[in-house]
């Protein structure tokens, strides 16, 4: 079977896995997805470092791919790019003279690794970045083949291609630049005479700059849209801060005494991606690769070390994705390890077959785990929530979203799906609640009953010191739509105003009654929930809702408003706390499971949730 066929099979296999588990629309867990999709649609500039190449690829995907919604097409772009990276890793393995089965195992391991898979099913830049990285590495290896074979013209041409790919790759993630020392040292180790050919270096650098020229997109388009909280890259300082100067406060920000912990965390991520067997094979494979060819080993070793060292000291809440290049290098080493074991067993054909079977089983087991963890085909939380939220707002309501990247979900939904054009999206409330009668809503999470609209979290937004924010729609992933009230809404009603039909005690907290009302004409399934609780005081009580065994949401009773109620209105314990909101149900999946309300307890380190079924199966 030719290499091309094997690469195609790997590409197709990976694509099938990713498409099967692809998110159908926008998704919450990756906070940047909405913003990346929105800017691809409007040819804008996403958060730093701007990602021009990715933006153009996204725009193209939205207009060329013939499947699904705009958001689905962006997700599909990730799947295609990740599958391409898998095929390219196979090519890299073959360029390193690995046999077909070892190169294929390395590529498959990358493809089923949970981190790449997690990014391949959502809108994110990392699959495209890994595709560009594997393309650059493959091109570099091709250059080395030409250089070592004395094919000067071919080597020169391949060098120019590499320079262009490397420059373009920065438009999928600027951290690619950190690999420059590894490539430079590799080139010098292969062809030290390169230093005596300054014209060739200058030509390559010029072509690299041609690739980098894509960043001219930033000043051209960066001023057209809100790029909050960053300064628009419309002057030299802004451009620097938006590109290589971006996130300077996060780089190498981990204290020295915490670095061992970070590295340990990395090791555990490596195990999660490749399995213990993959780690062992990779460690063995590193020595085999070193023995086979020190220069090529050095390239992958440096790529690995640079990536791990830099990003283990990068303080971001989602560091795993930044380690994807190191997983690429590790999978190459695994390929060497696989080959080494296979070679040892050459004399015993039965054992060699057994080795291949073990290898296959290991990949299937790992792939199955990744499949389960990354299966997002029923994740409709964003679209369900936005559909419900936009549906309940009266005409001409104002919707306050977070600015820039953080409010792009609503902006994407409204501008791409052309929904509720009468609802202006604003990023701040600059005046007291509208006198016209049309209410304000906000999708921002509440901190102590208030959205983070300037000032410290939990403080009242300027001009809205008297306003109350009460959630009226709750969705999965802590999504909430809150309505702004000019006066205290009825959060606490007087004792006796509600018959205690349920009267179910969760320790000191009692659920007096709950009414679940189906909303039959809703575009997506949701129910209206009204609850009445007796609580011992304004202290935090955490309540939750689940459908069958699936948790839908959890929130603090009163959403942080009860302490303020106690101060401004009256004692909470002397009344009944009541909540009323629309609860968004997942539009893909069973809706006929029983709905339960629960109270969460944390006693002496033991976390428990007590549940009580409030609506039986099929009622909604």
């Amino acid at each position: 079977m030719s290499d091309r066929v094997v690469a195609l099979l790997l590409f197709g296999g990976a694509l099938a896995c990713y498409v099967t588990t692809l998110t159908p629309g926008l998704c919450y867990p990756a906070g940047d997805s909405h913003e990346l999709a929105l800017n691809a649609a409007r040819l804008g500039v996403p958060h730093p470092s701007g990602y021009p190449l990715y933006t153009w690829l996204g725009f193209t995907a939205m207009h060329v791919l013939p499947f699904g919604t705009a958001a689905y097409r962006m997700n599909l772009l990730s799947a295609l790019a990740a599958s391409g990276a898998v095929a390219l890793l196979y090519r890299i393995g073959r360029q390193l003279a690995l046999p077909v089965y070892a190169a294929a195992a390395a590529a498959a391991l990358l493809g089923i690794g949970t981190t790449l898979w997690s990014q391949a099913v959502i809108t994110e830049v990392y699959p495209a970045n890994i595709f560009m990285m594997t393309l650059a590495v493959s091109t570099m290896l091709r250059w080395a083949e030409h250089a070592q074979a004395g094919r000067a013209a071919d080597a020169r041409r391949t060098f120019m291609w590499f320079a262009l790919i490397f420059g373009l790759a920065l438009g999928t993630h600027i951290s690619t630049l950190s690999f420059a020392p590894a490539y430079a040292l590799f080139m010098l180790s292969i062809d030290p005479g390169l230093l005596r050919r300054p014209k060739e270096i200058a030509a390559a650098f010029t072509i690299f700059l041609l690739g980098v020229l894509q960043f001219a997109w930033l000043p051209l388009r960066g001023g057209l849209f809100d790029v909050y909280p960053n300064t628009a890259p419309t002057n030299l300082l802004g451009f620097y801060r938006y590109t290589i100067g971006a996130f300077g406060n996060l780089r190498f920000a981990v204290p020295w005494d915490a670095v061992p912990l970070q590295l340990l965390l990395y090791l555990r991520r490596l195990v999660a991606n490749t399995g213990l067997g993959g780690v062992a094979l990779g460690m063995l494979g590193m020595w085999i690769a070193l023995a086979r060819d020190q220069r090529r080993f050095g390239l992958f070793f440096l790529l690995f070390v640079l990536n791990v060292w830099i990003f283990s000291q990068f303080t971001v809440p989602d560091p795993d994705v930044f380690f994807l290049p190191s997983y690429v290098a590790w999978c190459v080493f695994v390929g060497f390890g696989v080959h080494a074991v296979g070679q040892r067993l050459e004399r015993w054909p039965a054992m060699r077959v057994g080795w291949l079977v073990v290898l296959g089983i290991g990949l299937v087991v790992l792939g199955r785990e990744s499949f389960v963890v990354n299966d997002r085909r029923t994740d409709t939380a964003v679209d369900d929530f936005l559909s419900a939220s936009l549906a309940i707002m009266p005409p001409n309501s104002g919707l306050v979203t977070a600015r820039g990247a953080f409010g792009a979900d609503a902006a994407f939904w409204q501008s791409i799906y052309r929904t509720r054009p009468d609802v202006p999206l604003v990023s701040d409330i600059t005046a007291p609640v509208q006198a016209s009668g049309a209410p304000y809503f906000t999708m921002m999470p509440l901190v102590r009953g208030r959205p983070p609209l300037g000032g410290a979290p939990g403080e009242a937004p300027v001009g809205l010191e008297q306003a109350w924010f009460v959630p009226v729609v709750l969705g999965e992933h802590r999504a909430m739509l809150s309505r702004v009230y000019p006066a205290p809404p009825a959060l606490v009603v007087r004792e006796g105003s509600r018959p205690a039909r349920l009267n179910h005690a969760f320790g000191a907290v009692t659920l007096l009654d709950a009414v679940i009302t189906p909303i039959p004409d809703a575009a997506r399934p949701r129910v209206h929930v009204e609850t009445w609780w007796r609580v011992p005081g304004p202290g935090p009580v955490v309540v939750a809702t689940r459908l069958g065994e699936a948790m839908l949401e959890a929130h603090e009773l009163g959403h942080g408003n009860l302490p303020r109620w106690q101060t401004d209105v009256g004692p909470v314990a002397q009344g009944i706390v009541t909540e009323a909101y629309d609860l968004v149900l997942p539009s893909r999946g069973a809706h006929d499971a029983p709905l339960s309300l629960g109270v969460v307890r944390f006693d002496d380190g033991v976390i428990t949730t007590q549940w009580h079924v409030v609506e039986h199966a099929g009622a909604h």
């Binding site: 003279a97 204290p255 560091p319 983070p452 603090e556």
Partner: protein, 120 residues
């Protein structure tokens, strides 16, 4: 890739670097969990808010309300994510140590940390 080469200076350089990296990795994997187990993470301030969070095996969840210093009770099952400006750090199912970004951890003081178990 060409056939096996002699052990020249590049081999020794690579072997030293590789040996050092692999030994460091093994030492980390063995020593750090033992060290963490030997200290009381609640009593000891957590460096840069990197640590662990307790999570029950039954997939439940809770909200911890922080009113004091950065003290997070630790256990090795979970991964916390949080973001600047968020009142709550969202716990994502995962294995190993948690790492709360410094800004998020600072923010978690006197705020609420929501922990969602692996059942999600």
């Amino acid at each position: 890739m060409p056939a096996r080469t002699d052990r020249g200076p590049l081999w020794w350089l690579g072997a030293c670097a590789l040996g050092a990296v692999q030994l460091a990795g093994i030492a980390l994997a063995i020593a750090v969990p033992r060290y963490l187990a030997s200290v009381d993470p609640v009593a000891k301030p957590i460096p840069a808010a990197i640590g662990y969070v307790d999570l029950p095996d039954d997939g439940g969840f809770t909200i911890l309300t922080y009113t004091g210093p950065k003290r997070i009770r630790m256990s090795p099952q979970t991964l916390v994510r949080g973001g600047p400006g968020a009142s709550m750090a969202e716990l994502v199912p995962g294995r190993g140590v948690i790492a709360v970004g410094a800004e998020a951890a600072d923010h978690a003081i006197d705020a609420t940390l929501i922990i969602i178990g692996p059942a999600l």
